[in-house]
Symmetry: C2
Subunit: 351 residues, 2 copies
């Protein structure tokens, strides 16, 4: 006999991208990590926290980060809630709005974690297909029994495409429930949706420091929403969900906007080069606004190509989407990593 809730027994659990063991020589271009080390200011901030000691509980609300992030983003600090990675933000949002039997909506093909979050809640989920231009139509905003939350990754994964903020606002206004705009990759894009939060209290923007700040190892994310939404979410948050080291580090990270601009500029240049070269190899690519490119192919099977790369020390993400098709999602690495990856792709295509 099982002690677990039946929904937990029935589910398989989310499987994140492969993480080779420490010390492995594999080049990771599979989980959209930043290939460069973080700002040196982050390292200094961690040292400062260490000198102060770790024996006391951290600030439950990560106030230092919220004040600085509020200035950078142009929102008041009490419009911000911090989390242990944006994963925890997404978990809190699901727990806040979606009860057993309720419905959670997400686009397809997109970030499959959202389905898992619904499963854990004992809720249903509904996938709405992007159209051929990676936009969403009326079926994404249509009322449905029990619909309590929708997730929209923007830029989307795996496509790297972005729905313009003006269109996102129209979607949100038509929605019968909050719309979480998951902006994990937005620092690599031309625009973002933060300003929409003021216009519509259904818009909740989530962010992470994992990608553009090169801090996947730190686990720090946050969301921006109107204060009455933040107040409700706070009830669900573990009291001390962000640790003292990550609060110090994240505050220093968001304070160093010069580092961010330089890093993002480099990644965007490398992204353009990777995309152009992949197209010239015969892959189909939509323009990416993220730190990865999504490669489909008109004729070749992609799993053998993924495996050829893996055998040769380059890990990319092979993603089959049932009823849609398959693709390779390749994170933008350093130029050297991209060169090795492109050479292996060419080699695999010649086979």
């Amino acid at each position: 006999m099982s002690y677990f809730r039946p929904e937990i027994d029935a589910m398989r659990g989310y499987v994140p991208g492969e993480q080779p063991r420490e010390g492995s020589k594999v080049v990771k271009m599979n989980t959209n990590e930043n290939p460069y080390p973080c700002s040196p200011a982050v390292v200094r901030a961690v040292q400062t926290v260490l000198e102060r000691g770790l024996q006391r509980y951290p600030d439950p609300m990560a106030t230092a980060f919220r004040l600085r992030a509020g200035e950078v983003l142009g929102v008041p600090a009490d419009w911000i809630l911090c989390g242990n990675g944006s994963d925890e933000i997404l978990t809190m949002l699901t727990r806040a709005f979606v009860a057993e039997g309720d419905l959670l909506r997400l686009p397809y093909p997109s970030y499959i974690l959202y389905k898992t979050l619904a499963e854990i809640q004992g809720a249903r989920s509904e996938e709405i297909r992007f159209d051929a231009q990676w936009r969403l139509g009326d079926d994404f905003t249509a009322p449905a029994p029990g619909l309590k939350l929708a997730f929209l990754p923007n830029p989307n994964s795996p496509s790297g495409t972005m729905i313009p903020p003006a269109e996102v606002l129209e979607l949100a206004k038509r929605m019968p429930c909050p719309l979480v705009v998951d902006e994990a990759y937005v620092d690599f894009a031309d625009d973002n949706c933060i300003r929409l939060v003021k216009e519509c209290d259904k818009v909740i923007v989530s962010r992470t420091l994992s990608k553009s700040y090169a801090l996947a190892g730190l686990r720090f994310g946050f969301c921006v929403a109107q204060p009455h939404i933040i107040e409700g979410l706070r009830k669900i948050k573990d009291s001390y969900n962000c640790d003292a080291l990550s609060i110090g580090a994240s505050t220093a990270a968001i304070d160093d906007q010069a580092w961010l601009r330089e890093n993002v500029a480099q990644i965007r240049v490398s992204r353009a080069r990777l995309a152009a070269a992949a197209r010239s190899l015969g892959f189909d690519l939509v323009d990416s606004q993220a730190n990865f490119v999504w490669c489909t192919h008109p004729s070749k099977q992609l799993q053998p190509i993924y495996e050829h790369l893996k055998r040769n020390g380059i890990l990319v993400r092979y993603m089959p989407y049932a009823g849609w098709g398959e693709g390779l999602r390749i994170s933008v690495g350093t130029d050297e990593q991209i060169d090795v990856c492109l050479a292996l792709l060419a080699e695999a295509l010649r086979k």
Copy 2:
């Protein structure tokens, strides 16, 4: 109109103990933090992780910690699951076992967070009173409709008392559901319940590094349970719930058992001195197995005493338990802090 689940709108949210702002001169004896800095090995481990960089995701299962902790505790690594503080462990356990409308059982007076966890799930909770000797009778193990989980802090907070492991095993065997033995304070006690996990798969032991390892700022906890329980809990866990710095730090912390023994020995000596002095001032104290003492008084009101201490820079925890009575829970600080606290208690009692 609210977008939140009705249960979230209805609840007030858990309020943790006061955390004075950084740089404040207040002496904290209110949230059972360790008054001493952590092992120097922890600081070195964080430096090592910093040198390696933070741009990659951490190990999803914190394998390094589990291997070392398994050796220290005498359990296989796959009997251990790590969390972002034991708070996250308690949250995961509640989400795993307790559905909307189900029942969660806890002792009274005890750690009130458990009630909040039930509220967030939309579940009911039931408080069973400790008897006069701080033991639990048949009503704690009696079947009840929807009973899916019970929490037992052992040592208990606020009392600091402990139910002997042999009795805990009897409670667990009679239970119709898992029994979480919350051992947040157990390193300060004479015994612990880890060995019971092998004897009964309903026993789940949770631990934290916040108290005895002086790492409240780090947020790292774990649970020990049979592997089929760990496998189910893993489905609920955020993919990368522990960050790279805390995995390095916690592994170094649990590796330094010499530091732990020395720290615990000091706290226990100070605890005995604090308890004896508080008794001689006229307080009633049961013997504490934790890093705090629970002081009730046969005739004096305690809130004015708490306030006198606070005005003079010493923060202790004033805890009124409805239908039970009130007490002051005083964390064991340094000997100097204890001296100041005792002098202020004496002064307040003379008023």
